[in-house]
């Protein structure tokens, strides 16, 4: 049965964050005054990377259950990790942990165990900086992801297949992404094909479509083209979605259209929900 391999240090999996960094990502998004889509998405990805690191941390050691790649596309297509990782296509999660571009300090609300919350000082590492410039070369970006995957899969042919979490706010400016997406989804390990999940963000109040199972649920041609290159959610992702209260069922695709801020956060939570270690309640905010 596919998508059942245990994620271990001997058989890690790969998560690719594919980010639209085109000029339109400078549009406002979310409730925060002056916040742009690019700011919100960078924060969500940094949060997802933070949580991945924490889940893989065993006392003082970060165990490499995951490898991570961040690819941005806009004015150019390239690696989106900053700091010492700027030149690396794929980095083990331990290298991600030890090489944030910078660490910010702040406070985080955590449960006090008695039904309330307490503010605790925390450090927020930052790996991905917001960018919003240029067009939307989605096909070229998916081609770049395919090259990364091919290289990684040649060294990791077994184990849980890679997950690509693609976020975009607009239509491709270099053609229909169907072929490039299908090429990504044709790759895999002995445990299944690469999973490609797509999240389309929108600042408009258009009706959002979350994890549809039928193409007819998509409102237009662009949504349908993304639906076709969205993998069906395997059971373990489906369980994670349902735990978050997201409406998803057997056959649901990893696809959100017209996502609002909460949908973006959930998209990354669901997409990174697998781990060699089960998440526990104290990790919840």
């Amino acid at each position: 049965m596919a998508y059942t391999a245990q994620i271990t240090r001997a058989n890690p999996t790969l998560i690719v964050f594919l980010l639209d960094q085109s000029g339109s990502m400078a549009d406002p998004f979310g409730a925060e005054q002056g916040a742009r889509k690019a700011d919100f998405v960078a924060r969500a990805v940094n949060h997802a990377l933070h949580d991945l690191v924490i889940r893989c941390t065993k006392t003082e050691e970060v165990r490499d259950y995951y490898h991570v790649a961040v690819v941005g596309y806009g004015r150019a297509v390239g690696v989106g990790l900053g700091g010492a990782l700027a030149g690396f296509g794929v980095a083990p999660v331990s290298a991600v942990a030890d090489n944030p571009a910078r660490i910010e300090s702040g406070y985080r609300r955590v449960p006090d165990g008695a039904g309330g919350f307490v503010e605790m000082p925390v450090r927020f590492p930052v790996w991905v900086h917001p960018q919003a410039e240029g067009g939307t070369p989605m096909c070229r970006a998916l081609g770049h992801v395919r090259e990364i995957l091919e290289g990684w899969l040649s060294a990791h042919p077994r184990g849980f297949p890679p997950t690509v979490l693609h976020l975009t706010d607009g239509e491709s400016s270099d053609g229909d992404p169907g072929e490039a997406g299908a090429a990504v989804m044709s790759l895999g390990t002995d445990d299944g094909r690469v999973l490609l999940f797509n999240c389309h963000v929108s600042a408009s109040r258009s009706r959002k479509v979350e994890y549809p199972s039928e193409e007819s649920q998509c409102p237009d041609g662009f949504a349908r083209s993304l639906f076709r290159i969205s993998s069906t959610l395997p059971k373990n992702f489906l369980d994670a979605a349902q735990q978050l209260g997201v409406t998803a069922a057997d056959g649901s695709r990893g696809f959100v259209f017209n996502a609002d801020p909460s949908s973006v956060v959930q998209f990354y939570e669901i997409g990174t929900s697998l781990t060699g270690m089960a998440p526990h309640i104290w990790m919840e905010e």
């Binding site: 941390t57 006392t59 942990a97 006090d112 165990g113 270690m277 089960a278 526990h280």
Partner: protein, 252 residues
Amino acid sequence: MSKGCRVETRHFMLPKEGSTAEECEDALAFDAGALRFAVADGATEAFDARRWAERLALEWVGAVRAPLTAREFGAWLGEQAAWLHASWEGRTLSWYAEEKRRAGSFAAFAGLRLEAAKGRVGWRALALGDSCLVQRRGGETVAALPLSNHEEFGSTPPLAPSSESLRAAALSRLVEAEGRAEPGDTFLLATDALSAWYFEALARRPEAAEEFDSLLAASDNESLAALVRRERAALRMRDDDVAALRIRLLPA
């Protein structure tokens, strides 16, 4: 041996596949003289979970007075947590280790005390989480706690936290129990993966549970390890650290 009550103890531990014995985060401890027995299972995600589990098992067995009520256990847990957190003082940590340390450590725990008085043997036990105690007599289960069915095991059990702020909520999930024991009775204390497997085996494949019981009774730990690996490979047992402690009540 304790007055009026003789026991035979057997124990077995095996780390998850690919891990070394030093990485095993399950712990067990017993004092056949004091008639106290405990297992603990450090949460893999938690900071310093192995030491926390070891501390809980060893100190519960060795305490001057076994903490057997929620109130006693809560006060005792606070003392153990203070020791653990003090041992972390003065260390400079990475941002991620610091975050883990701030959340504290977590472990499942189950403890058993036998008591002999006036020719009878009684037992008292407490458990927090998914490490279990099973009392068997003549091939039947007499008592099981805090869980008694493999379907009750989940991914987020309540655990004994080292963090003071989480203690009250955790203690509300503590299970206390007591009962009588007879010569020939066996008690099995086991951490979650093995407990879940054992309950399922008792219900559906009693010959597998019997095989496990026989090997543990014979201290044939090599064959036990083969059995656990076989069951893991067949996906009938979750690949997790395993700790088991078997106590058999002998005739007086």
